[in-house]
Every structure is written in structure tokens, then in C-alpha cells.
Symmetry: C2
């Protein structure tokens, strides 16, 4: 075994690339199967049936099932984060950014619902299977950073200050999207419109204008939180 490891030292680069390429191909088949059946019902034979190969080859390219799924989780990450940075780069007003962000989430929900139900499935699995946890946490952090870039830019365009830290912002939109996904897959026709509406409604609440001399209702509470030590008991 460990052919994969041995190869790297011996063979030419083109062969290494071909080996890595096939791993990606098989991982694609695995991801497709996982997004259709879910982690609990996905077997190696089913994955192979969604590929051009037989089930035995999976153990030629991956040590075991955990190795394969871990690789899938990593591959999923690359596919996941790229969409929204373009929105951040092109939007020239806060409104446009909010619209683009909301529309992006709606499109993601409509076009990649199965992909994202896989993500939530795997993230839940990572609560039980320690092997996935590191990769899941890494993806989670990169998603959080993506959300942070969006809300930061939104605040910047509106000349405002953010009143929630990065983890809170991510948790909120993640919760909204997960809720929308559940209702969307349950056949609710309003899920897409609801998601758009709620995102557009929520985004302005994350900032408060910074130029005004009068203290906004949220600002005091932010300051109050700053010295939270006196409260937590």
C-alpha cells in the first residue's frame, strides 16, 4: 500500500499529475453521489457506479473511505468560496452590493441546493467523525472570511461601522441560508423570495452610521457590550 506516497518520489511529474487528476475525477463522482444520497447512504460501490470505473479502483487512489471523503470535503471547498468575491469587487454602492449578495445567495440556493445540503450533512458528520473536523473547520473559516469581506465592504460603501463581529455575521447568514435550504427542499415556493427579503432586511442592521454625532440606538449597546465583563455572571 501507500502506493500514492511511493509514486511521488519515483515517477515523472506528468504521471503524478495524471494520478492527481484521476483522484479529482473520482472525488467528483463521490461528491455527486454524496449530494444525491447523503453521507449515511453513500457506499463506495455507488460512487464507483457514478464514475467510469469499478469499485475496486477507489482503493487504488484512496487509502480508505475516510480518506476519500476527506478529499471530497477539501475539493468542495475550492468550488464553494469563489462565487461572491466578484460581487464584492464590482459593486459600487451599498445597495448594489446588498442586491448582489442577496441575489447570489438566492441563485446558490436555487442552482446548488444539493451541493449545500451535502455541506450541511458533512458538517454535521464532523460533529461525530473526528477525521473530518479539521477540514470542516477550515472550510467554515473560509466561508466566514467570505461573509466578512462582504459585510465589511458594505459598511465601507455606506460609510458606516459594523456592529457585529465576524463570527456573528457568518452565523447569522449561515442560519438564514440553512433555514432557506430546508424550506426550499421541502417544497416551499416562498423559500427563494423569503431568503432574498430577509438578507436585504438583515444587512442594514449590521451597521450603524459612523459620521453622525448623535448616538444611534445600537451604538450604546455596542459600547455596553464592550465592557461585558460586568454583565456576565
Amino acid at each position: 500500500m501507500t502506493k500514492a506516497a511511493e509514486r511521488i518520489d519515483r515517477v515523472s511529474r506528468s504521471q503524478v499529475d495524471k494520478f492527481e487528476e484521476r483522484r479529482k475525477t473520482l472525488a467528483d463522482a463521490a461528491i455527486q453521489t454524496l449530494s444525491e444520497l447523503g453521507y449515511a447512504r453513500t457506499s463506495l460501490r455507488e460512487i464507483a457506479q457514478n464514475s467510469a470505473f469499478s469499485h475496486g479502483v477507489l482503493h487504488y487512489y484512496f487509502r480508505d473511505k475516510v480518506d476519500l471523503i476527506t478529499y471530497c470535503v477539501r475539493q468542495y471547498k475550492a468550488h464553494c468560496v469563489q462565487r461572491y468575491d466578484q460581487i464584492v469587487a464590482t459593486a459600487r454602492t451599498g445597495d448594489a452590493l446588498a442586491q448582489g449578495f442577496a441575489e447570489g445567495l438566492v441563485q446558490t440556493l436555487r442552482d446548488e441546493a444539493l451541493m449545500h445540503r451535502l455541506w450541511y450533512d458533512l458538517r454535521s458528520q464532523s460533529l461525530f467523525e473526528e477525521s473530518f473536523r479539521a477540514d470542516v473547520l477550515e472550510i467554515d473559516q473560509s466561508l466566514e472570511r467570505m461573509i466578512w469581506r462582504i459585510v465589511s465592504r458594505f459598511a465601507e460603501l455606506g460609510d458606516a461601522r459594523l456592529v457585529v463581529p465576524s463570527p456573528v455575521a457568518y452565523a447569522m447568514f449561515d442560519g438564514l441560508f440553512q433555514q432557506a435550504l430546508l424550506h426550499y427542499l421541502s417544497g416551499s415556493g416562498n423559500a427563494l423570495a423569503d431568503l432574498r427579503e430577509r438578507v436585504l432586511q438583515l444587512l442594514p442592521h449590521l451597521v450603524c452610521p459612523s459620521q453622525s454625532g448623535t448616538t444611534q440606538p445600537g451604538a450604546r449597546l455596542v459600547a455596553a457590550h464592550q465592557q461585558r465583563a460586568s454583565h456576565s455572571a
Copy 2:
């Protein structure tokens, strides 16, 4: 077959109760197993091993595995919602309610982390297995109502109006809790303190004072939502 259904018409009430009682006992064993292993790895034999009975008895009290797990999901619901209504009833100030709510979430995370990772696991499963979906949605709604009672009371105590509708409020706290759970189970020592801090910080942002004559930013959105909320309630 369908002994459970036949019995109800024939036998005495005490026997029905005993039958129902055993179902609950077995469901408890199942829930314990599920919360330890997760849905994907939980088998009927493993459940039976966590009970005082052998594996065959499960098919005497439940039609099949889906029937058992569905029953478990329903039983989980009863166990879940009760904790926070007492906090709502006893808190006499907004600050006290916020403190109680945050502390309740922290305690829940600390004491029942495994239970709630089961909940998130099953909710993810319902994205694939249609059988669970109705019950999951019902639990989700009852959790949403619980959150709504809390934030409503919080607004009432502060003589303020809520600026987010019920689904958004639930999605936000659900996202925060899920995030905290992931980090808590990953061994992060800050998870509990972070959750408390973030809940206390977030709660005030959901309301804006209602006595002010000036229109707050977002007040229009609140008004737009007001009729939706009353419609769905």
C-alpha cells in the same frame, strides 16, 4: 403485523399505557445511541444493546427503523422546548431576560451538547430522507416560536419594537448555537464564553426603541414585516 394498531381497540387502557411506556423506554435508548454515534452509524442492534432488551423487540414496538427514528425525533421535541419558557416567565427586566437566555443557551451547550448534535444530524438527514421532514419541520417551528416568545418579551420589557421577523430571529440564534456547538465539540475552550457574549450582544440589535418620533433606519422594513408576522402567527 400492525399489532400496535390492533391493540388499541381491544385491550385495557393500562395495557396501552404500558405499551406506550415501553416505546418511550426504547426510544430513549435509541436517542442515547444516536446522540453518541450519529445517524449514519446507529444500528438497531446497537440501540438494543443500550437497552435492557434484545434486538428483536424493536420490531415488536416499531414497524421499522424509520418508524423508530421518527418516534425519537418526536420525543426529542418534548424534551427540547421546555427549558426556556420559565426564563421568559420569571424575568422582570430586559437585562435579566437577556442574561437568563444567554445563560440558558450556554448551559444547554455545556450539558446537552450530544443531544443537540443529534438534532443537527437529524435535521440534516431530513434534507435527504423525506420521512423525517415533516417532524423536523414541526420541531423547527416550535423552536422558532420559543425564540419568538423570548425576543418578544425582551422587546416588551424594554418598551421597544422588534426589527426582525420571527424566522430571522430564529435563524440567527440557531446559527450562533450551531457555530458554538461545532467549536465546543472541537475542543475550543472559548466556545461557551463566546456564545454568551455573542447572544448578549446580538439581542439588543433585534429591537429599536418605539417611543422615538424619528423614523429609525429599517423602520419601514419592520412595518412591512409586521403584517406578515401577524398573518403567519
